[in-house]
Amino acid sequence: MPDLPKKKVGIVSCSGEEMPEGTVTRLATLKVLWELRPDDTVTICLPLFLAGGQGERTFARYYPTIAVDGCERRCAAKGTEMYSGKPAASIVVKDLTAGGELGSPEGKGRLNERGKAAVEATAARIATLVDELRTGRPRQRATAPSSTPSPPMENQPPSQNACSCTSTPPSSVISIDGEKVSMLGLPLVFERFLDSDKVAREEIGPELLKAARVYNFISPEKETAYAGALLREYEAYRASKRMNR
Protein backbone atom coordinates (compact mmCIF):
# COMPACT_ATOMS: atom_id res chain seq x y z
CA MET A 1 0.00 0.00 0.00
CA PRO A 2 1.35 3.45 -0.82
CA ASP A 3 2.37 5.77 1.99
CA LEU A 4 -0.34 8.18 2.97
CA PRO A 5 0.35 11.74 4.01
CA LYS A 6 1.15 12.11 7.67
CA LYS A 7 -1.87 12.92 9.77
CA LYS A 8 -1.69 16.38 11.27
CA VAL A 9 -3.32 17.94 14.27
CA GLY A 10 -5.59 20.96 13.82
CA ILE A 11 -5.42 23.82 16.29
CA VAL A 12 -8.36 26.21 16.61
CA SER A 13 -7.83 29.25 18.81
CA CYS A 14 -10.63 31.53 19.95
CA SER A 15 -8.46 34.62 19.27
CA GLY A 16 -10.91 36.57 21.46
CA GLU A 17 -10.19 40.23 20.82
CA GLU A 18 -11.75 41.57 23.99
CA MET A 19 -9.38 40.01 26.53
CA PRO A 20 -5.62 39.44 26.86
CA GLU A 21 -6.19 35.69 27.14
CA GLY A 22 -7.61 35.76 23.60
CA THR A 23 -4.37 37.24 22.35
CA VAL A 24 -2.52 34.55 24.31
CA THR A 25 -4.44 31.81 22.45
CA ARG A 26 -3.58 33.38 19.12
CA LEU A 27 0.14 33.82 19.80
CA ALA A 28 0.48 30.39 21.43
CA THR A 29 -1.14 28.78 18.39
CA LEU A 30 1.22 30.61 16.06
CA LYS A 31 4.20 29.56 18.16
CA VAL A 32 3.24 25.89 17.87
CA LEU A 33 2.59 26.22 14.13
CA TRP A 34 5.85 27.99 13.37
CA GLU A 35 8.31 26.88 16.02
CA LEU A 36 7.34 23.93 18.17
CA ARG A 37 5.51 21.57 15.80
CA PRO A 38 5.62 23.09 12.30
CA ASP A 39 5.42 19.75 10.52
CA ASP A 40 2.61 18.33 12.59
CA THR A 41 0.02 21.08 12.83
CA VAL A 42 -2.44 23.17 10.82
CA THR A 43 -4.97 25.79 11.85
CA ILE A 44 -8.14 27.45 10.71
CA CYS A 45 -9.86 30.67 11.69
CA LEU A 46 -12.80 29.81 13.93
CA PRO A 47 -15.37 31.93 12.01
CA LEU A 48 -14.55 30.08 8.81
CA PHE A 49 -16.65 27.18 10.05
CA LEU A 50 -19.64 29.38 9.32
CA ALA A 51 -18.36 31.69 6.62
CA GLY A 52 -16.51 29.04 4.67
CA GLY A 53 -17.66 26.07 2.69
CA GLN A 54 -17.95 22.35 3.12
CA GLY A 55 -14.19 21.95 3.33
CA GLU A 56 -13.96 24.15 6.40
CA ARG A 57 -16.89 22.45 8.07
CA THR A 58 -15.23 19.07 7.78
CA PHE A 59 -11.97 20.41 9.28
CA ALA A 60 -12.36 18.65 12.63
CA ARG A 61 -13.25 15.43 10.86
CA TYR A 62 -10.12 15.66 8.80
CA TYR A 63 -7.80 16.66 11.63
CA PRO A 64 -7.89 15.65 15.29
CA THR A 65 -8.38 19.10 16.73
CA ILE A 66 -7.19 20.97 19.82
CA ALA A 67 -9.41 23.89 20.84
CA VAL A 68 -7.56 26.73 22.58
CA ASP A 69 -9.80 29.11 24.48
CA GLY A 70 -9.09 32.22 26.48
CA CYS A 71 -11.93 31.89 28.95
CA GLU A 72 -14.52 29.54 30.32
CA ARG A 73 -17.02 30.43 27.59
CA ARG A 74 -14.97 28.11 25.37
CA CYS A 75 -15.99 29.60 22.05
CA ALA A 76 -13.37 27.62 20.12
CA ALA A 77 -14.30 24.28 21.66
CA LYS A 78 -18.04 24.79 21.40
CA GLY A 79 -17.89 26.44 17.99
CA THR A 80 -15.72 23.66 16.58
CA GLU A 81 -18.07 21.02 17.92
CA MET A 82 -21.19 22.84 16.71
CA TYR A 83 -20.01 23.40 13.17
CA SER A 84 -17.31 20.87 12.41
CA GLY A 85 -16.65 18.09 14.90
CA LYS A 86 -15.84 17.45 18.53
CA PRO A 87 -12.30 18.59 19.40
CA ALA A 88 -9.99 15.83 20.54
CA ALA A 89 -8.61 18.07 23.29
CA SER A 90 -9.27 21.44 24.82
CA ILE A 91 -7.26 24.08 26.68
CA VAL A 92 -8.49 27.16 28.56
CA VAL A 93 -5.80 29.78 29.16
CA LYS A 94 -7.48 31.07 32.30
CA ASP A 95 -7.21 27.58 33.78
CA LEU A 96 -3.47 27.67 33.17
CA THR A 97 -2.96 31.15 34.58
CA ALA A 98 -5.53 31.56 37.33
CA GLY A 99 -4.14 31.11 40.82
CA GLY A 100 -0.80 29.93 39.53
CA GLU A 101 2.62 31.50 39.33
CA LEU A 102 1.86 32.91 35.90
CA GLY A 103 -0.75 35.39 37.08
CA SER A 104 -3.28 37.09 34.85
CA PRO A 105 -1.97 38.51 31.58
CA GLU A 106 -2.63 42.13 30.69
CA GLY A 107 -2.67 44.07 27.44
CA LYS A 108 -4.85 42.98 24.55
CA GLY A 109 -2.79 44.31 21.68
CA ARG A 110 0.54 44.28 23.55
CA LEU A 111 0.89 41.56 26.17
CA ASN A 112 2.83 42.27 29.35
CA GLU A 113 5.50 39.89 30.67
CA ARG A 114 2.90 37.72 32.38
CA GLY A 115 1.07 37.52 29.09
CA LYS A 116 4.22 36.45 27.28
CA ALA A 117 4.84 33.79 29.92
CA ALA A 118 1.27 32.60 29.41
CA VAL A 119 1.95 32.29 25.67
CA GLU A 120 4.97 30.08 26.37
CA ALA A 121 3.07 27.90 28.85
CA THR A 122 0.04 27.56 26.58
CA ALA A 123 2.18 26.76 23.55
CA ALA A 124 4.07 24.09 25.51
CA ARG A 125 0.79 22.54 26.61
CA ILE A 126 -0.54 22.53 23.04
CA ALA A 127 2.67 20.91 21.79
CA THR A 128 2.37 18.17 24.40
CA LEU A 129 -1.21 17.50 23.32
CA VAL A 130 -0.15 17.44 19.66
CA ASP A 131 2.38 14.73 20.47
CA GLU A 132 -0.13 12.74 22.44
CA LEU A 133 -2.70 12.92 19.67
CA ARG A 134 -0.26 11.97 16.94
CA THR A 135 1.53 9.16 18.71
CA GLY A 136 -0.71 8.23 21.58
CA ARG A 137 2.06 9.15 24.02
CA PRO A 138 4.11 12.23 24.95
CA ARG A 139 7.11 12.92 22.76
CA GLN A 140 10.57 12.64 24.28
CA ARG A 141 11.81 15.95 22.98
CA ALA A 142 11.25 18.94 25.21
CA THR A 143 8.06 20.86 24.62
CA ALA A 144 8.99 23.82 26.75
CA PRO A 145 11.01 26.61 25.18
CA SER A 146 14.57 25.45 24.72
CA SER A 147 17.49 27.24 26.31
CA THR A 148 18.53 28.40 22.86
CA PRO A 149 16.37 31.34 21.99
CA SER A 150 14.49 30.85 18.77
CA PRO A 151 14.18 33.67 16.24
CA PRO A 152 11.29 36.03 16.83
CA MET A 153 8.09 34.63 15.39
CA GLU A 154 7.38 37.66 13.29
CA ASN A 155 10.65 37.16 11.42
CA GLN A 156 9.90 33.60 10.50
CA PRO A 157 8.17 32.83 7.26
CA PRO A 158 4.88 31.11 7.85
CA SER A 159 5.20 27.44 7.04
CA GLN A 160 2.98 25.97 4.38
CA ASN A 161 0.88 24.67 7.22
CA ALA A 162 0.45 28.02 8.90
CA CYS A 163 -3.18 28.46 8.05
CA SER A 164 -5.99 26.90 6.20
CA CYS A 165 -7.80 30.15 5.53
CA THR A 166 -7.46 29.72 1.81
CA SER A 167 -6.33 26.13 1.52
CA THR A 168 -9.15 23.94 2.69
CA PRO A 169 -8.75 20.27 3.48
CA PRO A 170 -9.17 18.51 0.16
CA SER A 171 -12.64 17.11 -0.23
CA SER A 172 -14.45 15.66 -3.21
CA VAL A 173 -18.05 14.83 -3.93
CA ILE A 174 -18.52 11.45 -5.53
CA SER A 175 -21.56 9.42 -6.47
CA ILE A 176 -22.24 6.27 -4.44
CA ASP A 177 -25.26 4.31 -5.65
CA GLY A 178 -26.67 7.53 -7.11
CA GLU A 179 -26.18 9.48 -3.90
CA LYS A 180 -23.76 12.42 -3.68
CA VAL A 181 -21.24 11.82 -0.90
CA SER A 182 -18.48 14.18 0.28
CA MET A 183 -15.18 12.41 0.83
CA LEU A 184 -11.98 13.79 2.26
CA GLY A 185 -8.42 13.34 1.12
CA LEU A 186 -9.09 11.55 -2.16
CA PRO A 187 -6.67 13.63 -4.27
CA LEU A 188 -3.93 12.79 -1.76
CA VAL A 189 -4.79 9.09 -1.90
CA PHE A 190 -4.98 9.08 -5.70
CA GLU A 191 -1.68 10.91 -6.02
CA ARG A 192 0.07 8.26 -3.93
CA PHE A 193 -1.47 5.48 -6.02
CA LEU A 194 -0.42 7.27 -9.17
CA ASP A 195 3.14 7.57 -7.88
CA SER A 196 3.14 3.80 -7.43
CA ASP A 197 1.91 3.29 -11.02
CA LYS A 198 -1.26 1.61 -9.79
CA VAL A 199 -3.70 0.87 -12.57
CA ALA A 200 -7.41 1.23 -11.88
CA ARG A 201 -8.23 -2.47 -11.80
CA GLU A 202 -10.62 -4.28 -9.55
CA GLU A 203 -7.72 -5.77 -7.55
CA ILE A 204 -6.78 -2.43 -6.05
CA GLY A 205 -10.33 -1.83 -4.79
CA PRO A 206 -9.55 -3.05 -1.25
CA GLU A 207 -6.40 -0.90 -1.15
CA LEU A 208 -8.34 2.17 -2.23
CA LEU A 209 -10.97 1.46 0.40
CA LYS A 210 -8.37 1.10 3.12
CA ALA A 211 -6.66 4.34 2.11
CA ALA A 212 -9.92 6.27 1.86
CA ARG A 213 -10.95 5.03 5.30
CA VAL A 214 -8.08 6.92 6.90
CA TYR A 215 -10.22 10.05 6.68
CA ASN A 216 -13.69 8.77 5.89
CA PHE A 217 -16.22 6.48 7.47
CA ILE A 218 -17.30 3.74 5.09
CA SER A 219 -19.90 1.32 6.38
CA PRO A 220 -19.11 -2.36 5.70
CA GLU A 221 -22.38 -2.95 3.87
CA LYS A 222 -21.51 -0.24 1.33
CA GLU A 223 -17.93 -1.38 0.71
CA THR A 224 -18.65 -2.75 -2.75
CA ALA A 225 -20.37 0.43 -3.88
CA TYR A 226 -17.58 2.57 -2.48
CA ALA A 227 -14.87 0.41 -4.05
CA GLY A 228 -16.50 0.73 -7.46
CA ALA A 229 -16.93 4.46 -7.12
CA LEU A 230 -13.35 4.94 -5.92
CA LEU A 231 -12.03 2.94 -8.87
CA ARG A 232 -14.03 5.11 -11.29
CA GLU A 233 -12.80 8.29 -9.60
CA TYR A 234 -9.22 7.06 -9.62
CA GLU A 235 -9.41 6.20 -13.31
CA ALA A 236 -10.80 9.66 -14.05
CA TYR A 237 -8.02 11.19 -11.96
CA ARG A 238 -5.36 9.22 -13.86
CA ALA A 239 -6.87 10.22 -17.18
CA SER A 240 -6.90 13.89 -16.26
CA LYS A 241 -3.27 13.68 -15.16
CA ARG A 242 -2.29 11.98 -18.43
CA MET A 243 -4.01 14.73 -20.44
CA ASN A 244 -2.14 17.40 -18.53
CA ARG A 245 1.25 15.87 -19.22
Binding site: E17, A51, P152, M153, E154, C165, T166
Partner: protein, 150 residues
Protein backbone atom coordinates in the same frame (compact mmCIF):
# COMPACT_ATOMS: atom_id res chain seq x y z
CA UNK B 1 -32.56 62.72 31.12
CA UNK B 2 -31.02 61.35 27.97
CA UNK B 3 -30.95 57.73 26.96
CA UNK B 4 -27.67 55.88 26.84
CA UNK B 5 -26.05 56.72 23.55
CA UNK B 6 -25.79 53.74 21.20
CA UNK B 7 -22.30 52.48 20.62
CA UNK B 8 -21.14 51.53 17.19
CA UNK B 9 -20.07 47.90 17.19
CA UNK B 10 -16.65 47.13 15.73
CA UNK B 11 -16.10 43.55 14.58
CA UNK B 12 -12.65 42.62 13.25
CA UNK B 13 -11.98 39.26 11.65
CA UNK B 14 -10.02 36.68 13.60
CA UNK B 15 -7.69 35.89 10.72
CA UNK B 16 -4.64 34.04 11.96
CA UNK B 17 -2.97 33.07 8.71
CA UNK B 18 -1.99 36.37 7.16
CA UNK B 19 -0.87 39.84 8.29
CA UNK B 20 -4.16 41.32 7.04
CA UNK B 21 -6.01 39.58 9.86
CA UNK B 22 -3.65 41.10 12.38
CA UNK B 23 -4.14 44.51 10.77
CA UNK B 24 -7.90 44.19 11.24
CA UNK B 25 -7.40 43.33 14.91
CA UNK B 26 -4.98 46.20 15.47
CA UNK B 27 -7.28 48.69 13.72
CA UNK B 28 -10.14 47.60 15.97
CA UNK B 29 -8.03 48.27 19.07
CA UNK B 30 -7.01 51.71 17.82
CA UNK B 31 -10.56 52.83 17.11
CA UNK B 32 -12.15 51.38 20.26
CA UNK B 33 -9.43 52.32 22.73
CA UNK B 34 -7.86 55.44 21.27
CA UNK B 35 -9.93 57.25 18.64
CA UNK B 36 -13.51 56.57 19.70
CA UNK B 37 -13.49 55.11 23.22
CA UNK B 38 -16.93 55.13 24.79
CA UNK B 39 -18.61 55.49 21.41
CA UNK B 40 -17.56 52.16 19.98
CA UNK B 41 -17.68 48.63 21.30
CA UNK B 42 -15.47 45.78 20.20
CA UNK B 43 -17.39 42.55 19.74
CA UNK B 44 -15.28 39.41 19.36
CA UNK B 45 -16.13 37.33 16.35
CA UNK B 46 -15.69 34.11 18.31
CA UNK B 47 -18.63 35.04 20.55
CA UNK B 48 -20.79 35.65 17.50
CA UNK B 49 -19.79 32.28 16.11
CA UNK B 50 -20.95 30.72 19.34
CA UNK B 51 -24.21 32.67 19.25
CA UNK B 52 -23.54 34.38 22.58
CA UNK B 53 -26.73 36.29 23.51
CA UNK B 54 -24.90 39.45 24.64
CA UNK B 55 -22.77 39.58 21.52
CA UNK B 56 -25.83 39.05 19.32
CA UNK B 57 -27.72 41.74 21.22
CA UNK B 58 -24.84 44.15 20.72
CA UNK B 59 -24.93 43.74 16.95
CA UNK B 60 -28.71 43.76 16.63
CA UNK B 61 -29.27 46.83 18.83
CA UNK B 62 -26.74 49.01 17.06
CA UNK B 63 -24.96 49.26 13.74
CA UNK B 64 -21.72 47.49 13.03
CA UNK B 65 -18.50 48.29 11.25
CA UNK B 66 -16.72 45.15 10.10
CA UNK B 67 -13.07 44.73 9.16
CA UNK B 68 -12.12 41.72 7.08
CA UNK B 69 -8.66 40.44 6.31
CA UNK B 70 -9.56 38.33 3.30
CA UNK B 71 -12.20 37.93 0.64
CA UNK B 72 -14.10 35.36 2.67
CA UNK B 73 -15.34 38.29 4.78
CA UNK B 74 -16.02 36.26 7.91
CA UNK B 75 -16.86 39.22 10.13
CA UNK B 76 -19.31 40.76 7.67
CA UNK B 77 -21.00 37.43 7.10
CA UNK B 78 -21.18 36.66 10.82
CA UNK B 79 -22.70 40.02 11.72
CA UNK B 80 -25.36 39.61 9.05
CA UNK B 81 -25.99 36.03 10.12
CA UNK B 82 -26.41 37.24 13.70
CA UNK B 83 -29.14 39.63 12.62
CA UNK B 84 -27.01 42.76 12.67
CA UNK B 85 -26.74 45.66 10.26
CA UNK B 86 -23.38 46.38 8.70
CA UNK B 87 -23.13 50.10 8.13
CA UNK B 88 -19.62 49.86 6.75
CA UNK B 89 -17.51 46.90 5.80
CA UNK B 90 -13.83 47.48 5.37
CA UNK B 91 -11.63 45.07 3.46
CA UNK B 92 -8.02 45.45 4.57
CA UNK B 93 -6.85 44.46 1.10
CA UNK B 94 -8.83 47.27 -0.51
CA UNK B 95 -7.29 49.81 1.84
CA UNK B 96 -3.85 48.38 1.16
CA UNK B 97 -4.44 48.80 -2.59
CA UNK B 98 -4.93 52.51 -1.92
CA UNK B 99 -1.78 52.60 0.22
CA UNK B 100 0.71 50.40 -1.56
CA UNK B 101 3.55 51.81 0.51
CA UNK B 102 2.04 50.25 3.65
CA UNK B 103 2.76 46.58 3.04
CA UNK B 104 1.94 44.70 6.25
CA UNK B 105 4.31 41.95 7.35
CA UNK B 106 4.26 39.76 10.42
CA UNK B 107 1.29 37.99 11.94
CA UNK B 108 2.29 37.70 15.58
CA UNK B 109 3.66 41.24 15.46
CA UNK B 110 3.11 43.71 12.67
CA UNK B 111 5.87 45.69 11.03
CA UNK B 112 5.74 49.49 11.07
CA UNK B 113 3.92 49.65 7.73
CA UNK B 114 1.32 47.22 9.01
CA UNK B 115 0.75 49.36 12.08
CA UNK B 116 0.38 52.44 9.88
CA UNK B 117 -2.10 50.62 7.66
CA UNK B 118 -4.09 49.69 10.77
CA UNK B 119 -4.15 53.35 11.78
CA UNK B 120 -5.36 54.41 8.34
CA UNK B 121 -8.22 51.93 8.67
CA UNK B 122 -8.96 53.04 12.22
CA UNK B 123 -9.13 56.67 11.07
CA UNK B 124 -11.53 55.66 8.31
CA UNK B 125 -13.72 53.92 10.86
CA UNK B 126 -13.59 56.88 13.21
CA UNK B 127 -14.76 59.22 10.45
CA UNK B 128 -17.61 56.84 9.76
CA UNK B 129 -18.55 56.76 13.46
CA UNK B 130 -18.60 60.56 13.38
CA UNK B 131 -20.81 60.52 10.30
CA UNK B 132 -23.21 58.18 12.04
CA UNK B 133 -23.25 60.43 15.09
CA UNK B 134 -24.11 63.40 12.90
CA UNK B 135 -26.92 61.54 11.14
CA UNK B 136 -28.52 59.81 14.10
CA UNK B 137 -30.26 62.09 16.65
CA UNK B 138 -29.06 61.43 20.18
CA UNK B 139 -26.02 59.55 19.01
CA UNK B 140 -22.52 60.24 20.33
CA UNK B 141 -20.89 63.60 19.73
CA UNK B 142 -18.34 63.56 16.94
CA UNK B 143 -14.70 63.62 17.93
CA UNK B 144 -13.34 67.05 18.71
CA UNK B 145 -10.43 66.80 16.31
CA UNK B 146 -12.74 65.77 13.49
CA UNK B 147 -14.86 68.87 14.09
CA UNK B 148 -11.77 70.99 13.89
CA UNK B 149 -10.83 69.44 10.56
CA UNK B 150 -14.32 69.82 9.18
Amino acid sequence: MSRAKPKVVIVPCSGIGKPYGTVSREAAYIVTEELCPGRTQLVPLSLLVLGDPQARAAVTESVAVTIDGCKLACSTKMVKESGGTVSKDIAVLDVFRRHRDLKPLGIAELNLEGLKLARVIAEEMARHVDDLAARVPGASTPRKEENEHA
